[in-house]
């Protein structure tokens, strides 16, 4: 059987976000795993309890380990690397969640003005939460 191919349709908005949902879901799990393993390499087994370790894995913010047995969080647990990790997780998490909200809204609303209004509201909320999250990360 000969191979049949057709030119790929242009990346539609729906398709792009459908792919993004999958990539961001896997991305959050991957980043969580990196946070988990790196914390263990930094002796988390003796320094953190399980709850703190899991909270750290999915949001490696220094405030989450400040009350643990870590003598000084500044060199290993609070640096630019973890800030980048936090931002990536926050971007994936907030975007994944708000896209889910958009999909739910559009599942129930057809072509109408309400769709445009609610889509705009979801976009503004997404932007608002992203800015707040980045502020929290940079300020902590």
């Amino acid at each position: 059987m000969r191979t049949r191919t057709v030119p790929q349709p242009a990346m539609s908005f729906e398709y792009t976000l459908w792919i993004f949902t999958r990539i961001s879901g896997l991305g959050m799990l991957g980043l969580g795993l990196i946070g988990f393993v790196t914390a263990l390499i930094m002796n988390a087994r003796n320094l953190l309890d399980m709850n703190t370790l899991l909270r750290w894995s999915f949001f490696p913010n220094p405030n989450h380990v400040v009350n643990s047995n870590i003598p000084d969080i500044s060199p290993g647990w609070s640096n630019a690397y973890w800030q980048v990790m936090e931002m990536l997780i926050v971007f994936f998490g907030i975007s994944h969640g708000f896209n889910g909200l958009r999909v739910i809204i559009e599942d129930f609303i057809g072509h109408s003005l309400w769709q445009t209004i609610l889509r705009g509201a979801v976009f503004l909320l997404w932007l608002f939460f992203l800015i707040i999250a980045v502020y929290v990360i940079l300020a902590s």
């Binding site: 049949r4 790929q8 349709p9 242009a10 539609s12 398709y15």
Partner: protein
């Protein structure tokens, strides 16, 4: 045995809203649900409306909700329902015209939007457009669709929003997208790549469960998504 049949009735000329009406019918375990409806209409209440044609599971006219699941009345045996009370309702997501008869027009509008016919403007060969058995096999499953609408009207995405093109239209697009003789696959993929196209499917599998022809609908939808992503029709 005596069977209680509870039917959702609606006559737009008399009723404000649909209501249930209950009938007692003598039946055998090997009777079809369609037999019961015929008996009710013939012996007890001639005003009952429902569609039926071939009564052999081919024409797809008598799809309805039977005990909460979309089925063909002519392919549903009483003994398979494991109940002496049978609830019969019209298909969800389409406007009711009368009793169990729904307006299929929105369903067929979606069906027509995917160009469910062979498109090939190339010079026709002297005898026929040849196709190998393997090429025919590629879309064999989706040729079985009888357009009963059981799949589309079992889909929560379609219930929520009638703009969604629905599984039946995607199945019928699949039948031509993967046909080696067809030349309009790109156009169909472009249509299905739209806002209310294939990506509104949330892989709930109701359609696959509802299909009286046992078409692997969710799999077909997945293949269309893959074709959109890769452009590969193998």
């Amino acid at each position: 045995m005596k069977v209680t049949v509870k039917i959702l009735r609606y006559d737009p000329e008399k009723d404000q809203r649909p209501h249930y009406q209950t009938y007692q019918v003598d039946a055998e375990p090997t009777d079809w649900v369609l037999d019961l409806l015929e008996r009710i209409k013939g012996d007890q209440d001639g005003s009952l409306s429902f569609r039926r044609s071939c009564a052999h599971g081919i024409c797809g006219s008598d799809a309805m909700r039977i005990n909460g699941m979309n089925r063909l009345a002519c392919k549903t045996l009483l003994q398979d329902l494991h109940s002496h009370t049978i609830v019969v309702e019209p298909l969800l997501g389409l406007p009711i015209i009368k009793d169990l008869v729904v307006d299929m027009e929105p369903f067929f509008d979606h069906y027509k939007s995917v160009m469910p016919y062979l498109v090939n403007d190339e010079q026709a060969p002297m005898r026929e457009r040849l196709q190998s058995p393997a090429e025919r096999e590629r879309f064999d499953d989706t040729t079985k669709c009888i357009l009963c609408a059981a799949c589309t009207t079992s889909c929560p995405s379609f219930w929520a929003n009638g703009d969604y093109i629905g599984p039946a239209a995607i199945v019928n697009a699949h039948r031509f997208i993967f046909d080696s003789r067809d030349r309009a696959s790109s156009e169909r993929l472009r249509i299905l790549n739209g806002q209310f196209g294939v990506f509104r499917c949330h892989t709930i599998f109701n359609c696959t469960q509802a299909c009286p022809r046992e078409i692997q609908i969710t799999k077909a939808i997945g293949e269309v998504k893959k074709a959109i992503a890769t452009g590969n029709l193998d």
